[in-house]
């Protein structure tokens, strides 16, 4: 069977399924064969459920319900998400025996939409980290260069899609953990407005910042997935690029960034101008202490959840996650509350900006995928931890709660994808994805498939 099917967007695959050009069972076998060949290299999966997937596909047969846009579409999800009867390990020894009793809300919703679950994806232990390194299951490599990171924390989700091992993947995003790995791997990563996709049945990392998000091959696919995942999804209001006002941050988001990334985002700005959009500079809230605010919320919340395991299984956590949890115990309650009040302040400041513009454009990341094992990356002579760099442009929007989507917009001379990020108003997720779809349709850029040898 043609391997290019493995990289086909959901939209086109669904059409082939409905037309009878391919059956759900054939599609499952296509991905199963690829997982057998590339699964170990990609380190994308922690567990597989292919027999159940085969049974589901056989039950669907040739009768794909036209009312179910995900009918027969195989997907994978990050191993923080419950699927009944399978372990939800969080990528950790701590929960190696934690078998889920019922499906997460989102798994139920995808099943109702006709999607077929095939397996659980690798991740940074309990989503603590953006490099996607995992000492038990290995570090998922970038499909465009196996010496580089896929990025994290939804590293296996990005690798699964990037290696052509499933048609869609579901991850979680607390500081960019869906959008950043998607950006580094040439995929589309979307996180909704805070709270619009249920997190019930998902192991929490930080309740105030966690978002369930999607990794897909296109913005159109992101729309299909969001429609299935969000209980209150609606049709987007009429969206036209020539009526769009795009905010361009004056500070922070274009600073200390790889020059080629800036060049490609600049090309995208030119495209938007030529399409009739109005580009306006916007003054963002001060970003000086945003990482501190995020950490001050994250670590006490992570500790509060993991306290249930620490006494009995504390020795099974990785040392770096234990260090983070210890930090959470040494912060004061007022510091935590103040950090959450600052989050509300960010939301209000951003909402004022969104009275002036429809969307905000930034690079998705300031760096291309760093080498596996790199502790620090250096841009413009300034070094920072690799994980900090990967999420530098994404984490603020977890605090502000605004929907954001990252999508490819160029290739770096190092042979790695470059991506941009669009951010929308609260609850304007549908219009945001539609804007990205219009850009995707009109922008003169095609991402080559990775050479997987």
């Amino acid at each position: 069977m043609n391997a290019s099917l493995a990289f086909m967007p959901i939209e086109k695959l669904a059409l082939k399924l409905r037309n009878g050009d391919i059956s759900a069972s054939q599609l499952i076998e296509l991905y199963a064969d690829r997982i057998a060949g590339l699964g170990a290299d990609s380190k994308a999966f922690i567990s597989l459920d292919l027999e159940a997937a085969r049974a589901r596909a056989a039950a669907i047969g040739q009768d794909i319900d036209a009312g179910k846009p995900l009918g027969g579409i195989p997907y994978a999800c990050k191993d923080l998400i419950d699927v009944a009867g399978l372990p939800t390990t969080g990528g950790s020894r701590v929960l190696a025996d934690n078998v889920a009793q019922q499906d997460a809300d989102i798994v139920r919703r995808l099943e109702q939409a006709g999607a077929i679950f095939i397996g659980k994806n690798n991740l940074h232990e309990f989503a603590y980290g953006a490099t996607g390194e995992n000492e038990i299951h290995g570090t998922p490599p970038n499909p465009y260069d196996p010496t580089r990171l896929a990025g994290g924390s939804s590293s296996g989700s990005a690798a699964a899609l990037g290696y052509g091992l499933c048609a869609a993947a579901i991850g979680t995003d607390t500081g960019g953990s869906v959008r950043a790995p998607a950006a580094l791997c040439g995929l589309v990563g979307f996180k909704p407005t805070f709270g619009r996709i249920s997190t019930d049945g998902v192991i929490p990392y930080s309740w105030s910042l966690d978002h369930v998000g999607t990794l897909a091959r296109s913005a159109a696919d992101s729309a299909i997935l969001f429609d299935a995942l969000a209980a209150d999804c609606r049709k987007p209001e009429a969206t036209r690029l020539d009526r769009l006002t795009v905010g361009i941050p004056e500070t922070f988001f274009f600073e200390n960034c790889d020059g080629e990334i800036l060049d490609h985002v600049d090309r995208l700005m030119t495209f938007l101008r030529e399409a009739g959009a109005s580009l306006e500079p916007v003054e963002m809230p001060s970003m000086e202490f945003t990482r501190t605010v995020s950490l001050t919320v994250q670590m006490p919340e992570a500790l509060s959840y993991h306290n249930r395991y620490l006494d009995q299984r504390g020795h099974l956590y990785s040392p770096d996650f234990r260090a983070g949890l210890a930090l959470g115990q040494c912060l004061l309650a007022e510091q935590y509350i103040r950090a959450r009040r600052l989050m509300e302040s960010y939301r209000r400041q951003m909402n004022l900006i969104f009275e002036q513009v429809d969307t905000i454009l930034t690079p998705a990341t300031p760096v291309i995928a760093p080498p596996i094992g790199a502790v620090e990356v250096t841009v413009d002579g300034i070094s920072e931890p690799a994980g900090n760099a990967i999420t530098r442009y994404t984490s603020f929007f977890n605090m502000s709660g605004h929907p954001a989507i990252t999508f490819p917009c160029g290739m770096h001379s190092a042979g790695l994808p470059i991506a941009a990020q669009l951010v929308g108003r609260h609850h304007a997720d549908e219009e945001l994805i539609e804007t990205a779809r219009l850009v995707e349709t009109g922008f003169d850029f095609e991402l080559p498939l990775p050479d997987l040898g």
Partner: protein
């Protein structure tokens, strides 16, 4: 504000309750070797700066209304 000392964090652990982190892990906060995202002292220094910000009556972030 004086730099935080290991002894202070050990006293918090021993006298305020909470999980009994190893002494080495407490040391990690004061003299990081594993690469915690931000050095703890830097974090405390920045939180002290943020304490000076008058947030008026802004409440903690909660649900995001669709109104």
């Amino acid at each position: 504000m004086k730099p935080v000392e290991k002894q202070t964090l050990k006293a918090m652990r021993d006298q305020l309750g909470g999980y009994a982190w190893d002494d080495d892990e407490i040391s990690e906060l004061v003299e990081p070797k594993l690469g915690i995202i931000t050095g703890f002292q830097d974090l405390l220094d920045q939180l002290e700066i943020l304490r000076q910000v008058d947030l008026e009556a802004i409440p903690p972030a909660a649900e995001i209304s669709d109104k």
